[in-house]
């Protein structure tokens, strides 16, 4: 028996209900995807070579862009903070100001955004092309779980690579600040690094570490999910890649704020 048509006045409410159901459905599938990936991570046999390949793909190949952006971020911080701190006669605090900004906030966030742009988009496109050319179906019919073969190694590689990339971003950024503060403006190197040791403690480093771990999961989760659910050919791959980068970037910033409020 078919349902009688709705009164015109009720149709927007029906549309809202349908849209809400679609959102809830998508969120459910998104969460279930991560659940399956976590299950695949802990299911032997472990794909060590696949993992190393993914670490190379996500981490090592992003190294140059991380070093470059880290250095210039540190230099910009050094320049702006020196000019600001000098006004208050506090230029001695340039070292800790640069280090704390990088270690707690800018390092994890900017490194994650850079890796998203370089590796996350490539990950979505690669998996998306595998989907539309039936390579994922081929894995499935060979009784090889695409979750275990493609998704799980990417997420573990994100977990390992992001903190390492962030650490390198921080170190290079601190030296970028050193170049500007010490070599350009003549602050003493002892002051720059000495005050840093006084003001930066392990809690700051752990805050940055936990952020980078979370971003590693978020980026690889979003990018593999978007690639895995591509449809409509090349146009679909392009759309999924854009969505993956935008969604990852938004989630990085939202999660950064959330972690900033809960971590010490």
């Amino acid at each position: 028996m078919t349902e009688p048509p709705l009164a015109p006045a009720l149709r927007p409410i029906e549309g809202l209900g349908r849209w809400t159901l679609q959102i809830v459905n998508s969120l459910g599938r998104f969460g279930a995807f991560l659940g399956q990936a976590i299950g695949a991570i802990f299911t032997p046999p472990f794909k060590l070579w696949a993992l190393l390949g993914r670490i190379n793909y996500i981490g090592f190949r992003s190294l140059l862009i991380i070093l470059l952006t880290g250095a210039f971020t540190g230099m910009v911080l050094g320049l702006q903070l020196y000019l600001t701190l000098t006004r208050f006669g506090s230029d001695a605090f340039l070292g800790p100001a640069v280090a704390l900004s990088l270690i707690r906030e800018l390092g994890p966030v900017l490194a994650a955004l850079m890796v998203t742009g370089r590796a996350g988009s490539a990950l979505t496109a690669e998996i998306g092309i595998m989907r539309i050319t039936e390579q994922i179906d081929a894995l499935t019919v060979m009784a090889i779980s695409p979750m275990r073969y493609l998704v799980a190694p990417s997420i573990v590689a994100g977990l390992i690579s992001f903190p390492m990339m962030t650490a390198m971003f921080d170190v290079v950024g601190i030296f970028g600040g050193y170049l500007v503060g010490v070599e350009l403006f003549g602050l003493s190197a002892g002051t720059y690094f000495g005050e840093m040791q006084t003001f930066v403690d392990m809690r700051d480093i752990m805050t940055g570490f936990w952020k980078s771990v979370c971003f590693g999961v978020i980026v690889t989760w979003v990018c593999t999910y978007k690639g895995f659910h591509v449809s409509r050919g090349a146009e679909g791959v392009a759309a999924a890649t854009t969505q993956a980068v935008v969604l990852s970037s938004v989630l990085i910033l939202v999660w950064d704020y959330f972690l900033g409020t809960v971590l010490p």
Binding site: M130, A138, T140, M142, A143
Partner: protein, 246 residues
Amino acid sequence: MIRVEGLRKSFHGQAVLRGVDLEVPTGSITVIIGRSGGGKSVFLKHLIGLLRPDSGRIEVGGVDLAVLRGRALDEVRRRYGVVFQGGALFDSMSCRENVAFPLREKTRLARAEIAARVDTSLERVGLAGIGDKYPEEVSGGMRKRVAIARALVTEPEIVFFDEPTTGLDPVLVNTIHRLIQELHRRSRFTAVMVSHEIPEVFELADRIGMLHEGRIVEIGPPDAIQHSQNPVVRQFIRGEPDSEPH
């Protein structure tokens, strides 16, 4: 033996399969023909467990594939080889690595044994010597043959071919069909092929089934299909255009 009973599938309310019944005898080559968009590939995806039916049974060796999940489904798939329409070769691997892949991932064979079996498989499809090339470096016909070598390297009991000759010239179509015939004679696998290569499939198939509007409207040996009185079958094998309304 593969037995399909009352297989139904709809997408977004539109029925694609409306109760497919089919029996595929062990060791035979059964070809499913039908017009483009008629549900042939959807039907094949049900047989290989990539889609789940809305209702109906798909029995493979007495097990209903439609209700299997996870490892139980993978156990059935271990008996399968599948040649996809576009080949579905892994483009990050060479042709040799593609053929070796299922052996490397799903068996405990030694490297030397895997290498020997890959060489034999490539030789059987006439591609000895191109193993180190990547899929994008070889022709469409070669890619199909690599895909066939990959599907057969594990010596499966059942092999599915999804339009394996689409996009090839008539010479290559016959070459691929002869290759499949020769490999079938050698290994005696059960083959299910989806194709619309008329009349070439009449020489290849033991049985031909016509899928039309979501049902098998006729099935039988090639001779019987060629002389069918069913107007839908006759129109399809003669390639007659649809009659336009006046």
